[in-house]
């Protein structure tokens, strides 16, 4: 569901020219209908288009050791982060362009059941790779668990409304190990990409995770994409054992398989017709 709001009719059109940290956030609501119900766990993605997260210098603009909880890097981030390394002589935590441009829309999903908006529980943990969350990303170490104290001496990224230690209320999802942050930091390969936002778990076996019907999406519109012709989307998807839904692989396999079969037959005929005459039909490999 595209909610960029480029079209004037879109409810989010008003928010098109928001800046990073406009307060109060521009909010809009988009209603949509699910044709089919989602039986298994549903993954909720946000998708961005035309966003070159794979730009060479953008990709490099991070300090992995800072994110790994290295205290010295925390206060003295890597040069790669320039020009998002320091702000007003204070080191930025997390530094770099990637962190700076973190997606900060808030999406909330409601099911409209007879005009009543039933909020759907969105689980925000478990969306990042386990290894990222537990090994690659770590909060700075120090005495006490007070993140505020640990991040003392650093400043928030320029575009962020609040510092890194205030990303979430739960301590195990705050700071560098905030999963939204981790997901964002895993830079996408292609300019059109999606990133996992929330999980919707199936509650019981009797009813589908998301029934077919009307839904509404509440958006706290913070993230400006209009300047570069970007698009924002919200995607709901289930996942099979093979990962996300993409028909390409299946089609490709079928095509290639039939071509191979056809060629096999042709070659067999050729082999029978000419092979014996040559005495050398048998080709290596």
């Amino acid at each position: 569901i595209d909610y960029t709001g480029t079209e004037p009719s879109s409810p989010c059109n008003k928010c098109l020219n928001v800046s990073w940290d406009s307060t109060p956030p521009c909010t809009c609501t988009i209603n949509f209908t699910l044709e089919h119900s989602f039986e298994s766990n549903v993954f909720m993605y946000y998708g961005l288009s035309n966003f070159y997260q794979n730009h060479r210098r953008y990709v490099k603009s991070r300090d992995d050791s800072q994110l790994n909880g290295d205290n010295s890097s925390l206060l003295n981030p890597s040069k790669e982060c320039e020009p998002y390394r320091t702000n007003e002589d204070k080191p930025i935590a997390p530094c770099g362009a990637i962190a700076n441009s973190m997606f900060n829309d808030t999406l909330e999903l409601y099911r409209i059941d007879n005009d009543t908006r039933i909020p759907i529980t969105l689980i925000k943990k478990g969306i990042a790779w386990w290894t990222d969350k537990n090994v690659k990303f770590r909060n700075p170490t120090g005495d006490g668990n007070n993140l505020t104290a640990l991040f003392q001496g650093t400043t928030k990224p320029v575009n962020w409304p609040k510092p890194v230690y205030m990303l979430d209320s739960e301590p195990d999802n705050n700071g560098f190990i905030n999963e939204d942050f981790i997901v964002w930091m895993r830079t996408a390969a292609l300019p059109t990409f999606r990133k996992l936002y929330r999980l919707i778990e199936r509650k019981n076996n009797l009813q589908p995770t998301l029934q077919a019907g009307k839904y509404s999406l509440d958006i706290a519109y913070n993230y400006p994409v209009h300047s570069f012709d970007g698009r924002k989307r919200m995607i709901l998807s289930t996942i099979s054992w093979m990962g996300g839904k993409n028909p390409f692989l299946g089609i490709a396999y079928i095509t290639v398989g039939s071509i191979c079969f056809f060629l096999g037959v042709v070659l067999l005929i050729i082999h029978h017709k000419y092979g014996n005459r040559n005495t050398s039909a048998d080709i290596p490999n």
């Binding site: 794979n54 060479r56 830079t187 300019p191 990409f193 570069f228 093979m242 993409n246 071509i259 082999h271």
Partner: protein, 1420 residues
């Protein structure tokens, strides 16, 4: 750019290395100046003064000699300290490395940096390290060598101890006195001051220097030779002044200044060169004048040469294409980036602004991006290709050198690859220029026939004996003895004893090998080992000559009567016998053969066993002679042969005693009697047998230490060994010996000949006019001991000799008529000999009166002493002497063809190689040899361009050639038609089989005209039409000009093969020079790129190794291009999706290591080991060679097709994962991982498709590479040090089925076209190579069958086609162009099976039934 420039720079580097290595000695290693500069700085002016390091000279000595080098040598380039900087310095002379360095530096520029700075250095460091290690190892082995040489011991005079003490070589200084004994190696260049030889002669063997195994004489400095006692260094008070060190081996000038200011000149005759070995001389003393690196040997030491192969040049042009491609891609990136940037009106927040907050303008960004892209896509230029090629070549050379087929037992030599980088050129040879003597032939001269006084003696027994040699193909004296001795009952022998003999032979030759090879070691200073072990011309096949019965008969008459009658010379019979006697005397005397005797211990043993007086050495005999100062001596130590003749010689004693010669010992009488007696009493045949045995035993003694006592107890004559400068001379001397005219000894002024029965005749040697190529003859002037007259014996080429003979008008005697008759008949015989391919020599003599001689001597002396145009005067003087000669006779010497020469030539011919024979011999001989080795065939039409066929003017030559050409064209035009109809005209002229067989014989003088610019083209056109060209009477210069002509004008790959110094220029000019390490020394080998021991080895070298090396290397090079393009393009495609920002979707480490580690070993293995066809098949089907000759494997189209394929594969490899992951939450490195993995599979499996033979090594390497990649990726992903971005990605992917599916699908789609292509090609349009490969799989029987069928089918097909297309004669065949179908990847011909390739030469199939015809086989 890198490729083209690499050439001169590499060359410069090589030159520089050479300079450094020759000059870099102790203390001067830092001086990098050139040789010249260094010399002038180190020596005083142009001369050096050598002063002995002795008491009264001490001060001066130190002043002078400290500037000279000592004898320590250091051939290494590096020391431990300077290794790193110097090696790096040298390596950066390579453009490829500079390019890499440039990239590294570029990466440090922040604006354009693409990778982490350190990572870019990795490939460079890897390449540098590999090369450095290689250089280091090479240098280390040199260092060890040097150390060994430096620590050899020699005897140096020590002032302190007043005697000679052992010293290491490295401690020898200029001015030291050195005493050497026999068989010791000379440690430094020194002036000979004393020799134990009474004549002041020292014999040296220069094998270590130039490979010539014959002995050379060196003379003690004049004024010292008279001294009887050994020189006392203490008393030596002279100073030596000589020229500065230079590398001219044949020049040495200087003088000795005695304390009384007398000066004595020094020449090269006085100089003993480092590296030579003292032979046959008990002890010598010399004073060192040059030491260490200043010795001539060291100055002459040149490193391996650098040639550039054709393939390499081609690779360089293709690299240029790659550069172009790279620039194109980078430009795309730059422009794309600019456009992409300009699309945004304001800075998007994923584009990082400059620190000042502003974005750089798109154009500048685009410009920066260009450089970034160059860094990113750098692998497109396969830098590792150079390293890989070098490694592969090393591997190939290693394989060639270890091919046991190249081992030649007799010479214990195998192939030597002296040039490391042109092995693949062997696969593309189109022209072979071959020397005749020693290359095609064995250069083992065998005396075959002679004509004396117009009477021919054809030595049939000798011929028989030679045949028996050929049959047995092995040389052992005992068996030969049996064979020859019982030549009448040969058949019986051959019947049942053959096996036994062979066994014996094998065993004995083994013994012989084991016995004599230690002697080859240069360190044997003991003298225990028979020196004859390394005398070149000593195989019995040459040394044994079975005398002609008839001649022997006549000759034995001389023994009895001639000397009574010779003075009158009245009767015809005695005239003839006199001729005979003179003839053999001339054979024995007119040469420069050095006589030597094998070492004593063996002789002692032998003699004591026979109860004889031990002979110490020939020197002693000679000394004894001299002391007694008699001319004719009974050679009492000479053993007699009385055992063989049981009859008592009493009856003859009285008869013999009337000889006017001074007495002969009874023993000798016995010998003479024995020679004469059977003749008078018995049939000649009977007499011959024991004599033969006798003679053979002489030879046996010469060679063999472990001679089993023969069935009949024979007394050995002293085991004389003749060491001649040329094998002809040796052959003649051996022939003379067979007639009991034995050359006993030779000193500078005397020659002793044991003449038949009459004992030793000692001739006073008045003069030797040595052989030179202008006069083509040599003469000796002797005083005849009997008649006391001055006699001139001349021996030379018949062409010059015939003009020098006395003509009838000049001499009015009654003899003149006879002489004319003799001349006529001899000429006839000479022509006959030449027709038989024998080398002919004329022997003539002239008797001079003392007055005449004195007059001539006067003139000659004047000529010798004159300073201006001395050469001319000497020549004039020689001509004056060599005139009005009386012809004695002529000899025919056979130079036997080497084993397998004709087979080899035929095979090479079938392989589409044109063979030219360039020889200095006369036309008839050359043509005959050409016929013998099947270079020309009986039904060939031979066109002869020579001075006698028409006038010598250039115009005439032109006319002649155009006429011939016309004739050929006319002849062939009719026959060409069918071929053209079939579209069978091949592109390359070299592979074009001539339409009909024509041979061109051209002669040296005509060649001169022909090589003139105006005629070159027509000449080449003519030669292209001919299937064989024989150039006779060609000078070395002409040879090289010819080679250069063909090489430059026809743009053909040339190979020159030769064995002698006269072939050196030709070998150097040709693309590939092959030296045959044969009889004529090492010069050819030193100049060559490959040195083989036998001509027939050329067959395997070219057909098998050439083919392999070429196909392997081309395929590897193509694969490298493919690999790099395919891989780099993955990155390039990604640029379209990341705003051309230069992002790589794989981690830098994996990116860099991908080329360096994961995919580097398999292609190298492929390049070294791939065998498209097995060696046997390649040998059997020489036609397969044409494939590589036409460089089918590496046509420009092949290159582009490979690149296209690479593009396709990279597209597939990128877009299959792209579509798979499109729109998903995949991150960069997770996206890159399947791409990278799929690329790895594609690239490795592509190799597997291309690979013609998959061995376990291939499997291991490929599987290893894949495993290594995964292990590395897993391990790398598991490390969580911060910069590791692809953290855990591999692990994650390994559990993801999509990953596998993607990899599988990508690999399949990517490889499908190429696989399909190969399958179709193999099934529908198989190349000859493929079909030949198929033959490999059959069982031997099937294989034979198939090859036979192949041939038969071809013949049938050819016939059918001939009949169908034209009624022309069966001699016309079309050229082969079957290969064209392989050249084009998708053959256009829809009926490929009709293309019958016919062999251009095999028209007479019954003639060569064992060789198959062209590859156009059809198995119906």
């Amino acid at each position: 750019m890198s490729g083209a420039m690499a050439d001169p720079i590499r060359w410069a580097r090589y030159r520089w290395q050479r300079l450094v290595s020759t000059e870099g000695g102790e203390g001067s290693s830092s001086s990098n100046s050139s040789n010249k500069c260094y010399q002038s700085s180190k020596t005083i002016g142009k001369h050096r003064i050598v002063i002995p390091c002795l008491g009264h000279f001490k001060e001066e000595y130190e002043k002078v000699s400290k500037l000279y080098m000592n004898n320590k040598i250091r051939t290494t380039k590096y020391t431990l300290l300077n290794f790193l900087p110097r090696n790096l310095f040298e390596q950066f002379h390579r453009v490829a490395n500079l390019y890499f360095l440039f990239l590294v530096v570029l990466n440090w520029v922040p604006v354009v940096e693409a990778f982490q700075k350190e990572i870019t250095m990795l490939p460079l460091v890897a390449v540098l390290t590999i090369i450095a290690v290689k250089d280091g190892l090479e240098d280390y082995s040199k260092y060890k060598m040097d150390k060994q040489i430096n620590n050899l011991l020699t005897k140096v005079y020590s002032r302190k101890e007043k005697k000679y003490i052992d010293e290491c070589w490295k401690n020898v200084n200029v001015g030291d006195f050195i005493r050497l004994s026999r068989n010791e190696i000379i440690p430094a260049d020194m002036v000979l001051l004393y020799s134990s030889d009474l004549d002041g002669i020292c014999y040296v063997e220069t094998a270590g220097l130039d490979g010539e195994t014959n002995l050379k004489q060196r003379q003690v400095v004049r004024g010292y030779s008279e001294q009887v006692s050994e020189i006392d260094p203490e008393k030596f008070s002279s100073r030596i002044e000589c020229e500065s060190p230079n590398n001219d081996l044949s020049r040495f000038q200087g003088f000795v200044e005695h304390s009384n200011k007398d000066r004595v000149g020094l020449s090269k005759e006085n100089l003993l060169l480092r590296g030579c070995t003292v032979r046959n001389t008990e002890a010598v003393v010399g004073i060192v004048v040059y030491a260490g690196h200043e010795t001539k040997a060291m100055l002459n030491n040149s490193g391996p040469h650098y040639k550039r192969s054709k393939l390499e040049r081609k690779v360089n042009t293709d690299i240029l294409w790659c550069v172009l491609l790279l620039i194109l891609m980078c430009l795309t990136g730059a422009i794309g980036h600019g456009i992409w940037l300009s699309r945004y009106s304001e800075i998007p927040f994923f584009n990082i602004p400059e620190p000042d907050g502003k974005s750089i303008p798109p154009t500048l960004a685009g410009f920066n991006m260009f450089w970034t892209m160059i860094i990113l896509l750098q692998v497109l230029i396969p830098i590792s290709l150079y390293v890989s090629i070098e490694i592969v070549k090393l591997g190939q050379i290693y394989l060639i050198q270890n091919d046991t087929d190249f081992y030649h037992e007799k010479t214990d030599s195998t192939i030597q690859c002296r040039a490391l980088n042109i092995a693949e050129d062997l696969g593309q040879i189109q022209y072979i220029f071959s020397d005749k003597t020693g290359t095609l032939t064995e250069n083992k001269m065998v005396f075959r026939r002679c004509s004396i006084a117009g009477q021919e003696y054809c030595h049939e027994e000798n011929a028989k004996r030679l045949e028996s040699y050929q049959e047995l193909d092995s040389e052992d004296e005992d068996s030969t003895e049996h064979h020859c001795g019982s030549s009448t009952h040969m058949s019986k022998w051959q019947g049942h004893n053959r096996r036994a003999v062979n066994e014996l032979l094998n065993r004995k030759s083994l013994n012989q090998l084991s016995g004599s090879y230690p002697a080859l070691g240069r360190e044997d200073g003991t003298g225990d080992v028979p020196h004859s072990g390394h005398v070149a011309f000593s195989s019995p096949i040459e040394t044994d000559v079975v005398p002609d019965t008839q001649l022997l008969e006549k000759f034995s008459q001389i023994s009895c009567h001639s000397y009574q009658q010779s003075e009158e010379a009245s009767s015809k019979l005695s005239l003839e016998t006199m001729y005979i006697a003179d003839f053999f005397l001339a054979l024995a005397i007119c040469n420069t053969v050095v006589v030597s005797v094998p070492n004593q211990p063996r002789q002692k043993m032998r003699h004591s066993s026979l109860g004889r007086i031990p002979i110490k050495s020939l020197d002693e005999i000679r000394q004894m002679f001299q002391r007694l100062s008699v001319r004719r001596l009974s050679s009492s130590p000479l053993p007699s042969v009385k055992e063989s003749s049981s009859e008592s010689p009493n009856s003859f004693v009285s008869k013999l005693s009337i000889f006017r010669m001074k007495l002969a010992s009874p023993a000798l009488d016995g010998a003479a009697q024995r020679a004469a007696e059977p003749h008078s009493t018995d049939s000649p045949e009977n007499s011959q047998v024991p004599q033969e045995l006798d003679m053979l035993n002489v030879a046996a003694g010469c060679k063999h230490s472990s001679a089993v006592s023969p069935p009949i107890e024979l007394s050995p004559l002293p085991k004389l060994c003749y060491e001649a400068e040329s094998p002809d001379e040796a052959a003649l001397v051996h022939a003379a010996r067979a007639y009991k005219c034995i050359l006993q000894s030779r000193t500078p002024d005397q020659v002793t000949v044991d003449f038949a029965g009459q004992g030793s005749l000692t001739f006073q040697l008045l003069h030797i006019l040595p052989f030179d190529s202008v006069r083509k003859r040599m003469s000796v002037v002797v005083r005849h001991p009997v008649s006391n007259k001055v006699v001139v014996y001349t021996k030379g080429a018949d062409s010059v000799m015939m003009d020098l003979l006395r003509t009838a008008s000049e001499v009015g005697t009654n003899n003149s008529e006879i002489e004319q008759k003799i001349k006529k008949r001899t000429q006839k015989h000479l022509d006959d000999y030449a027709r038989r391919g024998l080398r002919t020599l004329c022997i003539a003599k002239k008797v001079m009166s003392d007055a005449e001689y004195a007059e001539w001597l006067n003139h000659h002396f004047l000529a010798e002493t004159s300073i201006d145009n001395r050469e001319e005067l000497l020549l004039e003087s020689a001509i004056r002497l060599e005139s009005e000669l009386t012809l004695l006779g002529a000899t025919g010497i056979e130079d036997r063809l080497q084993e397998g020469v004709s087979d080899t030539i035929q095979a090479l011919r079938k392989a589409g190689i044109k063979i030219w024979m360039l020889t200095g011999d006369k036309r008839e001989t050359a043509v005959n040899i050409a016929y013998a080795c099947k270079l020309l065939e009986p039904d060939d039409r031979i066109f002869t361009l020579s001075e006698d066929s028409y006038s010598q003017s250039r115009d005439a030559s032109a006319l002649m050639m155009s006429k011939i050409l016309e004739g050929i064209q006319k002849n062939s035009s009719a026959k060409k038609k069918p071929c053209q109809k079939l579209g069978n005209v091949s592109a390359s002229p070299s592979s074009q089989a001539p339409e009909f067989s024509a041979g061109l014989v051209i002669d040296g003088r005509t060649l001169e005209h022909v090589l003139h610019d105006s005629l070159q083209n027509i000449f080449l056109e003519l030669t292209e039409k001919c299937r064989a060209v024989v150039c006779c009477r060609a000078t070395p210069l002409q040879k090289s000009v010819l080679v250069r002509l063909v090489r430059n004008k026809l743009k053909a790959m040339t190979l020159a093969v030769g064995d002698g110094a006269n072939d050196v220029s030709m070998i150097q000019v040709a693309d590939t020079g092959v030296g045959i390490s044969g009889q004529e020394g090492m010069q050819a080998v030193m100049a060559s790129d490959f040195a083989i021991s036998q001509f027939r080895h050329l067959r395997k070298l070219l057909l098998v190794h050439g083919h392999w090396c070429y196909t392997r290397l081309t395929n590897m090079v193509l694969y490298f291009f493919y690999k790099n393009v395919a891989y780099v393009n993955l990155l390039f495609w990604y640029q379209f999706f990341c705003g051309f920002s230069g992002t790589s979707m794989t981690d830098y480490w994996i990116l860099i290591l991908f080329n360096l580690l994961f995919t580097s070993v398999p292609p190298i293995i492929y390049g070294v080991l791939d065998k498209d066809v097995s060696a046997e098949i390649l040998m059997q089907l020489p036609q397969l060679y044409m494939m590589s000759q036409k460089s089918v494997a590496y046509l420009p189209s092949t290159f582009w097709i490979t690149l296209l394929d690479a593009f396709y594969q990279s597209l597939v490899c990128f877009f299959v994962p792209y579509f798979t992951y499109y729109g998903s939450d995949i991150d960069i490195f997770s996206f890159g991982n399947p791409i990278n993995t799929a690329a790895l599979f594609i690239i490795l499996f592509h190799l597997l498709i291309e690979c013609k033979s998959v061995t376990w090594i291939h499997t291991v390497v490929i599987v290893g590479s894949i495993l290594f990649y995964f292990v590395f990726a897993l391990a790398f992903g598991a490390t969580h040090n911060p910069p590791s971005n692809p953290y855990w990605i591999m692990e994650k992917h390994m559990t993801d089925p999509v990953f596998y599916l993607v990899c599988l699908l990508t690999t399949c789609i990517a490889l499908l076209p190429r696989y399909l292509l190969r399958v179709l090609q193999g099934t529908l349009f198989p190349s000859p190579v493929l079909r030949a490969k198929h033959l490999d799989r059959l069982t031997p029987e099937e294989q034979r069958e198939a090859i036979k069928r192949w041939k038969d089918d071809c013949i049938v097909n050819c016939r059918v086609e001939f009949q169908a297309t034209s009624g022309s004669s069966s001699t016309a065949t079309g050229p082969v162009s079957e290969e064209e179908s392989i050249a084009s990847v998708l053959p256009t011909s829809k009926t490929p099976f009709q293309a019958c390739s016919r062999d251009g030469f095999g028209e007479d199939n019954s003639f060569s039934p064992d060789v198959q015809d062209e590859s156009g086989i059809q198995m119906a």
